[in-house]
C-alpha cells in the first residue's frame, strides 16, 4: 500500500474511530516529511537515574570495538585461506580457522551490544532516533536483512570449515567467505552513512526537511572519508586483537610445538596489523582535511580548539603502536641464526623512531605561565613552534613509516644469504634510495613548515606520501631481485622469542583499543551542541562538551570493560578445546 492509500484508509477509519485522527494527521505530516524537531530538555526521558549520554557513549563504543573486530577478521581470514589454497600449506588453513573461531564468540557479543545501543538510543533519544529513522528508513531495513545474510554466511563458513574441504567444496567455502565479507562491509557502510549524516547532513534543507533522496543522505560529504579510514583501521585493529590472542596462547602453551605454532600465528597477526597501520595515518589525514573542507568550524574545533589536546594523547598512542610493532619485529629476529648481521642497526632505528615520536606529539600551543611567556617572547618558540603543526607531523610519521619498513626489510633479510654477484652494488642502491627519500621528506617538511603558507603546507603533504610509497615499493622490488635464488641461513626457530615480545603484542592491542575510543569520542564530540550539525539541536541536559579528563575517564572505563570481554572471549575459545574424563563418574555401559 502506498502512502496516499494509507492516509485514505486512516481517514475513513478516523470517521469510525475518532481516536485515530491524531495518528492520521501525524502520517500526513510525515508524507511531506516534517522538519527536524525542535526539542526541549523535557523531550529527553530520564530512566532509573542513568546518565543517557554515558549509556549511549559506552554502548556505542563497545559495539564499535567488537564490530570492527568481527568485520576485519573475515577479511584477512579470507586472504589467508586463499594463500593456503595457492600454496597447499595446511598451516594457513588451520590458522584461518583459529582466527574465525575467536571471531564467532565476539560476533554474539557484537549483536548483544548492538541491541543495547539500539535500545538506549530509542529510550534516551527517541526524537533523534525517530528523525534519523524517517530519513534512513530503507537503509535501516536493509541493514536488518543484511544482518541475517551475514549471520547465515558466518555460521556456515565456520561450522562447515572441515566439511567443505578440497576441490570444488573448498571453492564453495571460499565463496561463502566472500559473501560474508560483502555483507559485513556493506553493513559498515550503511551504519557509517547514519553517523556521517549527523556530521555533514545532506539530502535535507536548512530546516531538516528530507528531500526524499535517500542516496543523497547516505552519500554525504564525509561518508567516503570515514569509509576508507574505518575499513583500513578495522583490519589493523583486527590484526592486533588476534595478535593478542596468539600472545595469550603462546604464554600458556604446553610444549615447544604449540609455542612454535602460536609464535607463527602472532607473527602473522602483527604482519597484518602493520600492513594496515602503515597507510592509516594518510587515511586519517585525508579524513581530517575533508572535515576542514566541509566546515572550517568543525575542523578548527577538531584540531585547534578544545579537542586539540586529545590529539596529543592520540599522538602518544600512535607512537606506542609504532614502537611496540617495531619492538616485536626486533625480538622476532631472534628466530633466525643469521639475524646477528643486522641487530647492530636496530639501535639506530630505535633512535630515529623515538626522535620522530617526540616531534609527532609536540603540541603547537604550550600551557605556559606569564613568566615563561615573557621569557619565550610569545606563545610560540620560533624554532620549536612549527614542530607543532602538520608539516612537522607529516614528516615525522613518514619517517616512522619508512623506518618501520626498514625494520621489516632487515627481518626478511635476517635468514637469507644473497647469491647474486651484484649484491654490494644492490645494497648501495638500496641505501641511496632510502637516503634520497628521507632527504626529500625532510626538505618538503622543513621548507614548507617554516617558510610557506597553509596552501603550500597542505599541498606538500602529497609528494611526501608519494615519496614514502615509492621508497617502500622500490626497496621491496629491489630486494626481491637481490635475494632471487638466495640460500637460507638455517630453518627459522619458531617459538624462539622472549616472552616480553608477547607483551608488546598486548600493548599493541590495548593501545589500538584506547586510541579508537578516544578518536571515536572526538569524531562524535566535534558536533558539540548539535545532534545533526546545523539542523537538529541537542537540547538535553548533557548538551555540553565535558572536560578532557572526564572524557578520557569514560573512554578508559569503556576500554577496560572491552578488555574484560575480550579476555572472556579468549577464555571461551580456550575451554572449548578442554576435555575432562571423570574416572568412575559414569556407570559402565554393558558391551
Amino acid at each position: 500500500m502506498n502512502r496516499s492509500g494509507l492516509i485514505i484508509c486512516l481517514a475513513i477509519a478516523a470517521v469510525v474511530f475518532p481516536g485515530l485522527t491524531a495518528l492520521a494527521q501525524e502520517v500526513a505530516v510525515a508524507g511531506a516529511y516534517a522538519p527536524a524537531p525542535k526539542l526541549t530538555t523535557a523531550d529527553y526521558p530520564t530512566i532509573a537515574g542513568v546518565n543517557s549520554r554515558i549509556a549511549v557513549w559506552i554502548f556505542a563504543q563497545l559495539h564499535l570495538w567488537f564490530a570492527a573486530f568481527v568485520l576485519a577478521v573475515p577479511i584477512f581470514v579470507f586472504i589467508i585461506e586463499v594463500i593456503g589454497m595457492r600454496t597447499r600449506d595446511k598451516r594457513y588453513d588451520d590458522m584461518a580457522y583459529e582466527f574465525i573461531k575467536v571471531a564467532i564468540t565476539a560476533y554474539s557479543l557484537t549483536a548483544i551490544l548492538g541491541g543495547m545501543l539500539l535500545f538506549s538510543l530509542i529510550l534516551f533519544y527517541p526524537h533523534l532516533f525517530n528523525y534519523l529513522a524517517t530519513i534512513f528508513t530503507e537503509s535501516m531495513f536493509y541493514y536488518a536483512v543484511l544482518f541475517f545474510v551475514e549471520s547465515a554466511a558466518l555460521y556456515i563458513y565456520y561450522y562447515g570449515w572441515h566439511w567443505l574441504q578440497g576441490g570444488f567444496k573448498k571453492w564453495v567455502h571460499l565463496t561463502l567467505g566472500l559473501i560474508l565479507n560483502a555483507a559485513g562491509t556493506t553493513l559498515m557502510l550503511l551504519a557509517n552513512a547514519w553517523l556521517t549524516f549527523m556530521m555533514s547532513p545532506a539530502g535535507v534543507d536548512g530546516a531538516g526537511v528530507f528531500s526524499g533522496d535517500a542516496w543523497a543522505a547516505i552519500h554525504n560529504f564525509l561518508w567516503n572519508p570515514i569509509n576508507i579510514h574505518r575499513f583500513v583501521a578495522n583490519i589493523a585493529y583486527g590484526g592486533s586483537i588476534v595478535g593478542a590472542y596468539a600472545a595469550f596462547k603462546f604464554l600458556t602453551a604446553n610444549g615447544p610445538s604449540e609455542r612454535a605454532h602460536y609464535d607463527w600465528m602472532g607473527y602473522n597477526a602483527n604482519f597484518i596489523a602493520i600492513c594496515a597501520l602503515l597507510p592509516l595515518p594518510f587515511a586519517g589525514y585525508y579524513l581530517a582535511a575533508e572535515i576542514y573542507t566541509y566546515s572550517q568550524q568543525l575542523g578548527i574545533t577538531l584540531m585547534g580548539g578544545i579537542f586539540a589536546w586529545l590529539f596529543i594523547i592520540q599522538a602518544v598512542l600512535i607512537g606506542t603502536l609504532f614502537l611496540s610493532a617495531n619492538y616485536y619485529l626486533w625480538c622476532g629476529m631472534g628466530r633466525s641464526d643469521g639475524a646477528k648481521r643486522y641487530t647492530k642497526y636496530i639501535k639506530y632505528i630505535a633512535v630515529v623512531l623515538v626522535g620522530a615520536f617526540l616531534v609527532w606529539f609536540t603540541p603547537h600551543t604550550l600551557v605556559l605561565t606569564n613568566e615563561e611567556l615573557k621569557a619565550l617572547g610569545g606563545p610560540h618558540h620560533k624554532i620549536l613552534g612549527p614542530l607543532g603543526i602538520m608539516p612537522a607531523k607529516n614528516t615525522a610519521v613518514n619517517v616512522m613509516i619508512l623506518f618501520t619498513a626498514l625494520s621489516f626489510m632487515f627481518y626478511r633479510r635476517a635468514n637469507k644469504i644473497a647469491t647474486v654477484g651484484w649484491v654490494n652494488a644492490g645494497n648501495a642502491i638500496q641505501v641511496a634510495l632510502f637516503t634520497a627519500g628521507i632527504a626529500n621528506i625532510l626538505f618538503l617538511g622543513i621548507y614548507h613548515g617554516y617558510f610557506t603558507n597553509t596552501v603550500y603546507k597542505v599541498a606538500a603533504s602529497i609528494p611526501q606520501v608519494l615519496t614514502t610509497v615509492i621508497v617502500i615499493v622500490g626497496s621491496i622490488t629491489l630486494d626481491s631481485f637481490i635475494y632471487r635464488g638466495s640460500r637460507e641461513v638455517a630453518p627459522l626457530h619458531w617459538g624462539r622469542i622472549p616472552a616480553r615480545a608477547q607483551y608488546a603484542l598486548f600493548l599493541l592491542a590495548v593501545s589500538f583499543t584506547w586510541l579508537m575510543g578516544l578518536m571515536g569520542y572526538i569524531r562524535s564530540g566535534i558536533r558539540q551542541h548539535w545532534h545533526v550539525v546545523d539542523i537538529m539541536r541537542d537540547a538535553s541536559a548533557d548538551a555540553f562538551t565535558p572536560t578532557l579528563g572526564y572524557a578520557a575517564n569514560v573512554v578508559s572505563v569503556a576500554a577496560i570493560l572491552f578488555m574484560a570481554m575480550v579476555i572472556f572471549v579468549f577464555w571461551i575459545a580456550q575451554v572449548s578445546g578442554n576435555k575432562t574424563l571423570p574416572a568412575g563418574y559414569w556407570k559402565e555401559q554393558p558391551p
Binding site: N424, L433, A436, N440, A459
Partner: protein
C-alpha cells in the same frame, strides 16, 4: 667497499633528481610551484 661509493653517489643523485621532479610535478598539478612564491 670503497668501489661502491661511486655507484652509491650516482644512484643518490639520480634518486634525488627524480624526487625533486616528482615534487615539482605534484605541486604544479595543484596549481602551485615547487618554490614558494
Amino acid at each position: 667497499m670503497k668501489r661502491y661509493v661511486l655507484p652509491f653517489l650516482l644512484a643518490l643523485v639520480i634518486f634525488l633528481g627524480a624526487f625533486l621532479a616528482l615534487d615539482a610535478a605534484v605541486m604544479s598539478m595543484q596549481g602551485l610551484s615547487l618554490i614558494y612564491g
